[in-house]
Homo-oligomer: 381 residues x 4
Amino acid sequence: MKKLRIGLIGYGFMGRAHSNAYRKVGNFFDVEHECVLQAVCARDAAKAKEFAARWGYQSVETDWRKLIARDDIDVVDICVPNNLHAEISIAAAKAGKMILCEKPLAMDGGEGKKMVAAVEKAKVPNMVWYNYRRIPAVTLAKQLIDEGRLGKIFHYRAKFLQDWTISADLPQGGTGLWRLDVKAAGSGVTGDLLAHCIDTALWLNGGIATVNAMTETFIKQRKHTLTGKVEKVGIDDACAFLARFNNGALATFESTRYARGHKALYTFEINGEHASIFWDLHDLHRLQYFDHRDEGLVRGWRSIHVSDGDQPYMKHWWVPGLQIGYEHSFIHQVADFLKGIETGKPAGPTFRDALETQHVCDAVLASAKTDAWQKVKTSAK
Amino acid sequence: MKKLRIGLIGYGFMGRAHSNAYRKVGNFFDVEHECVLQAVCARDAAKAKEFAARWGYQSVETDWRKLIARDDIDVVDICVPNNLHAEISIAAAKAGKMILCEKPLAMDGGEGKKMVAAVEKAKVPNMVWYNYRRIPAVTLAKQLIDEGRLGKIFHYRAKFLQDWTISADLPQGGTGLWRLDVKAAGSGVTGDLLAHCIDTALWLNGGIATVNAMTETFIKQRKHTLTGKVEKVGIDDACAFLARFNNGALATFESTRYARGHKALYTFEINGEHASIFWDLHDLHRLQYFDHRDEGLVRGWRSIHVSDGDQPYMKHWWVPGLQIGYEHSFIHQVADFLKGIETGKPAGPTFRDALETQHVCDAVLASAKTDAWQKVKTSAK
Amino acid sequence: MKKLRIGLIGYGFMGRAHSNAYRKVGNFFDVEHECVLQAVCARDAAKAKEFAARWGYQSVETDWRKLIARDDIDVVDICVPNNLHAEISIAAAKAGKMILCEKPLAMDGGEGKKMVAAVEKAKVPNMVWYNYRRIPAVTLAKQLIDEGRLGKIFHYRAKFLQDWTISADLPQGGTGLWRLDVKAAGSGVTGDLLAHCIDTALWLNGGIATVNAMTETFIKQRKHTLTGKVEKVGIDDACAFLARFNNGALATFESTRYARGHKALYTFEINGEHASIFWDLHDLHRLQYFDHRDEGLVRGWRSIHVSDGDQPYMKHWWVPGLQIGYEHSFIHQVADFLKGIETGKPAGPTFRDALETQHVCDAVLASAKTDAWQKVKTSAK
Amino acid sequence: MKKLRIGLIGYGFMGRAHSNAYRKVGNFFDVEHECVLQAVCARDAAKAKEFAARWGYQSVETDWRKLIARDDIDVVDICVPNNLHAEISIAAAKAGKMILCEKPLAMDGGEGKKMVAAVEKAKVPNMVWYNYRRIPAVTLAKQLIDEGRLGKIFHYRAKFLQDWTISADLPQGGTGLWRLDVKAAGSGVTGDLLAHCIDTALWLNGGIATVNAMTETFIKQRKHTLTGKVEKVGIDDACAFLARFNNGALATFESTRYARGHKALYTFEINGEHASIFWDLHDLHRLQYFDHRDEGLVRGWRSIHVSDGDQPYMKHWWVPGLQIGYEHSFIHQVADFLKGIETGKPAGPTFRDALETQHVCDAVLASAKTDAWQKVKTSAK
């Protein structure tokens, strides 16, 4: 078995999810590569060591440049705040490493373009962790659409609702809270949550032509953990936008961290001429499907428990009726990444794919700023 | 238009539901008869008058014998406690009246047999108010079964769960509480709630051969409203039973007034070789349907919103998506009763049909008493 | 009992719903007025007679001017296409009639202002049939908000999704299809469906300051029933808009007749600082409620089956667990209208209230046309 | 870190679930032991090797006796058909090994008693894989009950419904199908599925006093994979029973493999004086909770998304809103087993606990055979 030596940068929530994926993929999928946890990198040496011990990383680094410079690393996995994605990615590409980068790709499209140029010039396999594509129910949705079952698409609507930042006492910045600090995150819910919705939407329904957005920052000032001072909040707490897809479909997108009762409610619904689809992250193992071609008398939304062997990815897991969870989407992504390098057909989303999401985010933020419709740039070659 | 002159005995919850049905049926259904609210009968003259004024009854009686004796009454509608059903029904039959009797038919099968004999001898149209047959979703279930869509039936399960008698302070007997008084009700949940479940089951799945039951009275003594004394509670607070249908299906039935969180949760589920059906009174306008012949990839329980014009009874109401409620089942029953007398094909459940339910109830109570399986008598001619 | 003599203009879907309400209100509510079905008016005399016979109207008219001129009519109820609302209303006001007008109030705000002026000058009781306010679950939502349970409101989102006009073969214009004819309807889903969403929203969450909309007409041409020719479709098939409320809440609204699987899915969700509310017309008897002040361990969305006597309107109906349906909202509205004239405290929505909804609709359509945010005019005195 | 060397016997569905648990527990839980995958044992050497390679077992055996005899094995994990549990367990106990045995404990109570005697005599840590206790929502249910929130319990109902054996073409016996062969399995759904329901019930609601059951074998003969002949089917395809708990609660239990539409629908509901609980394996991350002490106006079933850090086990996983799946119950069980040996307070269910479930199963099967109520033996010391 070929070895693929992973160098992980960052050890937070995503560091754990990725490490788990590398460790499990070979138990459940027939892949030609063994993922070797070669090194984890974090500025805090003690924490890096603790993480390495828990997950079985064979070494630690405290400087990502050193990690990239090592000969015994094949893949660089970037799990640090958004403001570091570009610099590390470009350096890693120059060093000829394969790159798996957390989402969103970059702070903005400008950065993203440079990153795409770097990986394409270096011809290194690259992928961005938009993991929700590989929830089996979402992958099934893609399959149904690609088979033409929905017919012409009229509507797309997506939401990502959370409620964890309603308290004004929550500070911004620092470990676990960098998502509230515009310098580290680039934006608020737009890059953090809507980016997921947009990635799925582009994958399922093609390109977005134009957008019209509004954003709001409900809490204007928060104490900054790093400076200790009360500072202006630079991120968007909520963002909603209208959109038109290239295929003529109308869309609404919305995200917020101020929706009481919703922890991580990512939902999407697609209405086609013949059929409709609905999915919901809080019950991620189900797909709701309505087919108007069903006989009228017994027509209704079907609640599909996506746990059968003929449904995407599920033959690798347990038996019908037994659900998998959130973390499995990462395992599927690693399996597909490996298959991509084994077959020479890269799995998506690549950096270039993710740049398209970045362009939509940029247009959304520009629209909110200008109170006007904005065209979306394309990242297609 | 022919007139059908109604004489209503009793003015409680059911008196209201029936009166509403008589008043509305002609607005929504094309029937040849006009239901005329001729007289209402109640022992308390003041209450009878108040009820008559509210609902438009043209006269009142305080003695049901006088009502039955009147020439200007075509239909006697019996909405009084169970212990009076037999006497009134038999007298009404002798007087040549059509009879609509509240459920359960009788205090027991012995009484029921006499009632059946009386109406059949008198050849008067007769029906029992097992209204749930005519909830559109339930009628649709019947239609699907009759079309053979389910194939061989393996399982039937029904429950009727309530929680309104948990307090030990609730008295027994008197207005609104006669259901807790065994002398007026005959039994507790068995005759009150399970009788509904059994009627539907016999209609949907044919006869029940044998039963095995347990009952419980959680609160042993309650103050009696009529005597003012604390008296032994004679009814069953809860009853569960196993059953085997003539068609080989296995069944579980359960009812209680001690299930916190359930106001009137009547549910049934039927599992056939090819398809399954589930229904729930708390969302009565929906039928859940699973068809295994659907393509595996997109197979799931269908939540059918029964509000389309091609679904039972619904063309008479509003437009797709707009639900009707509980009271409409009574209107449907009156519509079908009228159609029955207009066409000469009596609508069910007749007294004879309801006797079969009574026999099951008797067997259930006998089984609980003897701790043994009991065969069910048949009421078929 | 005082008599209130109703003159109904129009005999379609709404004519039936209103007639049913007048006939039933006295059976279930303690009101001082008896609604007398005095006359129904329709251009087609045969149809008017048939309708009168079915519902018990005592006379018919074929010219609405004659109806209004009659001395024996107290209330004029307008159930005709939108383009006739203004003319009839203004004439009826001048004749001193009370007026109940179907929604939307008018073809646009200009018309609406004149109508408001007319009824206010004439000092006649007036109301618009935005019936959804009086679905018990929606009224309960209002009560919870007014009690301050939600705290500061961050988000409002509403949708009204249907799927009945997807076929290109469906013609526009004529009986039952005037909603597709811009000359009769004024607009498409905006006035027909979003108007309902907006009325509820203004009632629950106060005024809307600004909107930003997009509309689409998916099928550009349809045969016109009246002319027999294929003509341009002038209505909006779909409309989505962003909005900001005066209280700072962000909102998304959407409506379409191209959402497969949805017959009449009106939903709204409100997210407040402390609690959230969700409601859905397809299961109209339930309110979903999330209260963050519940203990964390057992916190979750509560599915409230609104059928208890202490919940709005429900003491007038059956017993807990037994649901009512769509038509009951009209009965409640008549009950409240009667109570309004009995107490001198008019029930809403009055014409003036409905004008505010009209102003939002106007701003929405203007925004879609101009691709720009639009301020909403206020109708407050 | 101390090492705990695992010897796994069997490599099927459960072999995978357990191996996954051993590999992951240390990544997510702070335990003092490292689980070392020392050896896997299977009669087929090639398959054993393949399994060892995939999961990282360091050696293979083809004779379980040799595995047990090895000095470098601390824990014997038994994942073979039921008819081998007793012999292997007793031998392992004699060899002083800790034992983790798949459920049900034994072919019957007689065997089970000997197994309990063996492990208790040898004083070896022992546990049975009734994994559903450690689905977080189920553990939360236990916690709520132990805190007394439900009050006196009136009702318990549990079902385990599947639909995978409806085809008459399915053979009995052999790999994957030994569950249909009475010689290997001992019983059908009673030992396979109801045993799970009973284990949870005893844990949540205490001992069962008496039972009354019916069983059915719908397909009487099936081809036997091992003999190649059509043979009588000895297992129960379906089993339903009534029960009375020691605490006075009434219960219904049912299981079948003939319920179309249900893959693995294990559900239980408990109704107490104050509150009720419902859980469902098909949406295992949710607990439905109804508390009658909630204010009446907003009382309803709460759908608790069990994914918060203060809910059982969840602080070890991801962030609120992100669900875990079936396999995690095994990881939790290993974590608790390790904690049990580290603290000296053994985690349940021990062999003795599981014997109590066995006694209920025995009484159920005896009742079905005799058509009579049966008392349940107790396994308490």
